[in-house]
Every structure is written in structure tokens, then in C-alpha cells.
Amino acid sequence: MRSSGTAFLKGLGALALLAVVTGAALRLHVNASTAGFVYLIVILGIALWSGLTISLLSSIVAVGCYNFFFLPPLRTFTIQDPENWVALVAFFVASLVVSRLVVNARGQAEAARARRQEIEALYSLSIDLFAATSRVGALAEATMRVLTKVGAASGGLVLFGSSSYMQQVVAWSGESEDEIKDLIAGVGRHREPLEFPGPHGRDVFLPLNVGGHIGGVLVVRGSTATVRALESVAALVALAVERERFMAESAHVQALRESDALKTSILRAVSHDLTTPLTTIALQVESLRQKLGANPAAAGSINVLSEQSDRLRRRIENLLTLARLESGKFVPRPEPTPPADLFHTAREHLAALAERRPFEVQIDDDCPDAMVDPVLAVEILVNLIENADRVSPPGTPLRLVAHRHPVDSSRVRIEVLDEGPGIHQTTEPAERFLSEAEEEGDVGRRGLGLEIAQGLAAANRGEVSLSNRPDGGAAARLDLPAATIAAAAEVAV
């Protein structure tokens, strides 16, 4: 009740001032117009010093005194001369206008001061917030500082995941009732601040606009700050959240870049350090073959050694190629490539396989060359042939076929046809190899061949697919863009 007491005292003060001024004016025998000006100045002073109510009441009292003591007939509340009526009304209106103007001006000054203070507070808060969140993970600490600054008893910061029900509590102090989660989710959905009286004063839930979306909610409990001020604080916190996300992202990108550089240097080391010993092994195996080839038992072992080291080499090369493609260190260089050359080279790569299994090659007369990176195309083909070989009964031939794509004449279709059991139509091609690998008890070989083939084909604007043939067995298809070659220049010989 302090404020109404102060108003009462101010009212008494105003009356006392009027009484003193009236007494002084009477003693000095001032005339009516002088008295009017003196009263106006007094009202101005009262309005400056007190509120609108007191200055209005003082105006009424001043009008009474002016009439009673200074306008004839004196010592009565009546007025004879109509001119004096005009003076009295003019005085009253002037005092009212002065009161209002002065009080308004004072109110505006106060509001400006309050705003200035608010802005100063926000500024220092923003400095605080951004100094505190210059590293990833400092958001919780910064939030607690914000809550202290705005005089909150408790509260916290909750960020949303993909929906407002996926809540991540970044910082929290004080108790956390069960319904808080729903309240926060509700604020997130409705995008409007929520304000209601809580156990320790006012609780305000403020949605945070992070990069155009409501990314979380700032909860301020028991603060006296206005909702408008708190909204500004929430906007700052939202900026801090956005900043932290951005920093985390750029840290991630940086880490990726570093890991990419690491990958490249590992790749370089691996490709050199693996290729050289493999070359030595391959050459030594051949030299062994020359020395021990006459011994059938040794020859068998040497064949296995040679085939397996070949396979190891190819796998390593495939994986390195895929890694190089992925890291952009290697860009496929397509050129018109005759399918016959692809088949020939693939069989050269699979010399041991070609010795124990017959191949039938069939290339349509009108089959165009494939526009493909020849080295990658051979690798794809080698993988498809190896896979077909694994599922084919011993001694059955593999057919290598090339023709124009039956539907899209701008593509070449290369097929590896086996006489194996075919594929389960329901399973994905990759799973086909997976299940076979498991049957073989060779977990490490899971679909690697096909996956490599698919990866390499994709880099060449090609596709690999598997299907059953009507006459039994499976067809592994490699569809590639066709090359268009024209006889550009003419005969000079």
C-alpha cells in the first residue's frame, strides 16, 4: 500500500503549496490576472512532480481559490462580470492542458528510459551470450546466465528434434513437473509465447525461432521482466542456438575434410604398399611354377596361390578404385570401347578361371561400342563373371553377350549368362550374393563383388541388374551408354 500512501502525501503537499501561494498572493494584493499566471505555474510544478490525478484535482482546487479570492465579488463563489467567467474557464482549460501535456511528456521520458535500460540489458546479455557460446557445447551455461540476468527463479532451454515432442533439455534448473513437457510442446506447435502465474511468480514459455522454424522453447519462471523484454531475450537465445548449430556443422565439415585428407593419404600409402608386394608375390609364384611345375601336387598348390593372389589384388584394386571415385581423386574417363575388347581383357584378367570354364562370346553385328571408362568396365565385368562362376556347376559354359539395349537404342547391354540355379525373384540382387556367401561359410565375401560392380557402373552412368533367364540360370546385365562414332576426317592415303 506504499504507492497509495505516497499519492496521498503528494496530494496533501499539492494542497499545502496552493494554500501557501494563495496566502502569499493575498498578502501582496496582486491583481486577478497575475494570480491566474501564478496558479498556472503552480499547477505546472505539481504536474511535473506528481501524477495526472493529483494535478487534475489541484487544477480544480486552484480554480476554486482563484474564483473565491481574486475574481469579484471577492470571498464568494459567484462571478458577476461575464469577462471574469471567460478568464476562469480559460484558466481551467489551460491548467488541464498543462497537466496533461506535462504528465504525458513525463510518461514518455520514463518509457524511453525504461526502453533504454532494456536495450542496454539486452546488449550486455547478447555480449554475454555470444562470448559464452563461442565454442560448441556452451549453450547450457549461457542459458543459465541469461536466466539469472532476467531475474528468473528457475527455468531452462529445451530444443526440439524432428518434432516438438522430441525434446532435448539443454539446460534446466528448478523443478520439472510432468505437464511441463506438454506445455513446451504446445508452445512449440502454436508458436506463441505462453504466460501464466506460477508458484514463484510469473512463468513465461517463449518459442525460439531458429532459422525460420520453432527450434525450441525458453522457459523463464518467476521473472518480473515484461513478456516483450523476454521475447527479445528469446530471440537472442534463438540466435545463439542457431550459431551453435552452425558451429557444430562447420566443425563437422572440418572434421570430414580432415578425414578426407587422411583417407587420401592412407589410400596412396595403401595402394603403393599393397601393389608392390602383390606384384612380387605374383612374380614369385610364376617363378615357383617354373621350378616346381613338373610336380603335379606342387602345381595344384601353385595354381591356387596364383588364383587367390590375383583375386586379392583385384579386390584391393576395386576397393581402392571405389574409394578414389568417392573422394573425387579419380574421375572416370569414358571413351568408345568395343565390347569385344572388354570381353577379351576380362578373360585375360581371369586366366585361371578361363582355363577351367569355357566361355561363349556373342556380339551382335550392330552392337555399338560402349561409352565407358575401359578399365572400370573391365573391373565390372570381371566381378560379374566371378560371381557367375561361383554359382555355376563345374564345366558349364559362361556366355558373354553384347547387343544394343532392346528398349533404349542409345545404350549397350552386356550380359553374363550362367547356368546356375538362378536367383530368388523376391530377394534383392545384393542379398542373393549374401545368402550364397553364407552358404559357403564365407562371410567376408558378402555381396562385395556385386556391390563393387554396382558402384563402378554407377560412376559410368551404367546399371547392373540380375534376373532369371527363361531357359534357366541367371543373367547379370550391365547397361552402358553407347558411343556414337562418325567418320569425321577422310582418307589421306
Binding site: 602383390l278 568408345p336 575401359p374 576426317a489
Partner: protein, 230 residues
């Protein structure tokens, strides 16, 4: 006739030893060097008939070695390159290497390349009649017989076949073909070469699906794969 001498330059001792050992069994006399510097020294001292060199080596690398050897000699140089190093291969050919072989290679492949280079340097390629298994190229009479049948070629096709056949076993680049067949005619593209080689292959190969004579060398050009009959 003394044994042909071959210089083997590679920084990997395993590869050096197995290559020299294998070359010895085929009647070649070989010297080994562990890097480019040693290779250049050995070349000056021994004057080998052929150089086999790795490209990536510490210190003086294979490219520098090729440059230095080419300053003083035209002996055949075969480069041992790694996979993925296609630009290296082309660069080495530009510097004057005669052929390349991609690691890991087989000894059979390597010996075939060595034989092809030895043939070329011994001057056999000047003959106007080239004979390969099932194939006779008679350049004087402009006649080609494959498996007993006459093959009718256009002048361009015959010129291409002559260049490839004379360089049997070696890669012939598109630029080589354009220079020798089209006399470097302006505007002759690799595609034009491909077009004529494509039609040559269709006429020449008894089974186009399993080529016996002409193979494409990715990004480089072509290689005649049949070995001439001596």
C-alpha cells in the same frame, strides 16, 4: 652373338630380383638398379639393349631416367606403371618410352613385351611383308590374306594395319596413327581413327567377338597383339 643386356630399375628389391632371375632363364643378361640415379650410372657404364624401369622411385624417378637415356640413346624403354597412373603412362610415352606394363603383371606378359621391343630395335620391321599366325600383310602388292581368304581393305584401313603390324606388340597412340596414316591432317580426330579401326577389325578378325589381332589400349590407342612369324 652375345646375350641381349637388360637394365632393370625398380626400388623394390623383390621385384628386381624376380625379374632379373626370370630374364636370366630366358637368356637375357640383366643388371639391376634401385633408383633413377643408379639406373643412369648403370646405363652409361653397361650400355644395355633395353631398359625396364619403374616410374615412382625416390630421388631421380623413372621420368627423369627416360629423359636422360633418350638424350643419348634410342634403346627400347619399357615402363612398369601402377594401375590408375594412366596419365603417367602417357607422359612416359611422350618422353620417349616405347611401352608400358601395368603392375602387377605376369612374367609371360613382360617377356612378350621385351621380345616385341627387341624385334623392333633389331630392325626387322622394315620388311614389306608382315607375317602373323593366319595373317599375311603384303605391303608391296597391297594384299592382305587372313586364314586363306583375301581381305579387301580401303587404303586407310591398309595404312592403319601396316602401322599397327610393323609395331606388333607395342602400343600405337592415336597421335601416331594420325601422323602416319593421315599425315597429321588437320581436324583428324580420335573418333575418325576409331571409325576406321572399327571397320578394319570387322573385316580382319575371323571372329570379331574374340579379337586376335587388334586390341584397344585404353586412352592411348591400339596394340597389335599377334606375334610375327620370324
Amino acid at each position: 652373338l652375345s646375350h641381349p643386356r637388360i637394365l632393370v630399375v625398380d626400388d623394390d628389391p623383390g621385384i628386381r630380383s624376380v625379374i632379373t632371375e626370370q630374364l636370366a632363364t630366358k637368356g637375357y643378361e640383366s643388371r639391376a638398379a634401385a633408383d633413377g640415379r643408379e639406373g643412369i650410372d648403370s646405363f652409361r657404364r653397361d650400355r644395355p639393349d633395353l631398359v625396364l624401369t619403374d616410374l615412382a622411385m625416390p630421388g631421380v624417378d623413372g621420368f627423369e631416367l627416360i629423359r636422360r637415356v633418350r638424350e643419348v640413346s634410342t634403346v627400347p624403354i619399357i615402363v612398369l606403371s601402377v594401375r590408375g597412373g594412366d596419365s603417367d603412362k602417357v607422359h612416359a610415352l611422350d618422353l620417349g618410352a616405347d611401352d608400358y606394363i601395368v603392375k602387377p603383371f605376369s612374367m609371360i606378359e613382360l617377356l612378350a613385351r621385351v621380345r616385341a621391343q627387341m624385334r623392333r630395335s633389331s630392325g626387322m620391321e622394315v620388311r614389306e611383308q608382315l607375317e602373323f599366325p593366319d595373317l599375311l600383310i603384303d605391303l608391296d602388292r597391297r594384299r592382305v590374306v587372313q586364314g586363306g581368304r583375301d581381305v579387301h581393305l580401303t587404303p586407310t584401313e591398309l595404312a592403319i594395319l601396316a602401322v599397327l603390324g610393323r609395331n606388333a606388340g607395342r602400343p600405337v597412340t592415336f597421335d601416331d596413327l594420325i601422323a602416319k596414316v593421315w599425315k597429321g591432317a588437320q581436324g583428324t580426330t580420335n573418333d575418325a581413327v576409331r571409325f576406321h579401326v572399327g571397320s578394319l577389325r570387322r573385316k580382319l578378325e575371323p571372329q570379331p567377338s574374340t579379337p586376335r589381332y587388334i586390341m584397344t589400349e585404353p586412352w592411348v590407342g591400339y596394340r597389335f597383339i599377334a606375334e610375327p612369324i620370324a
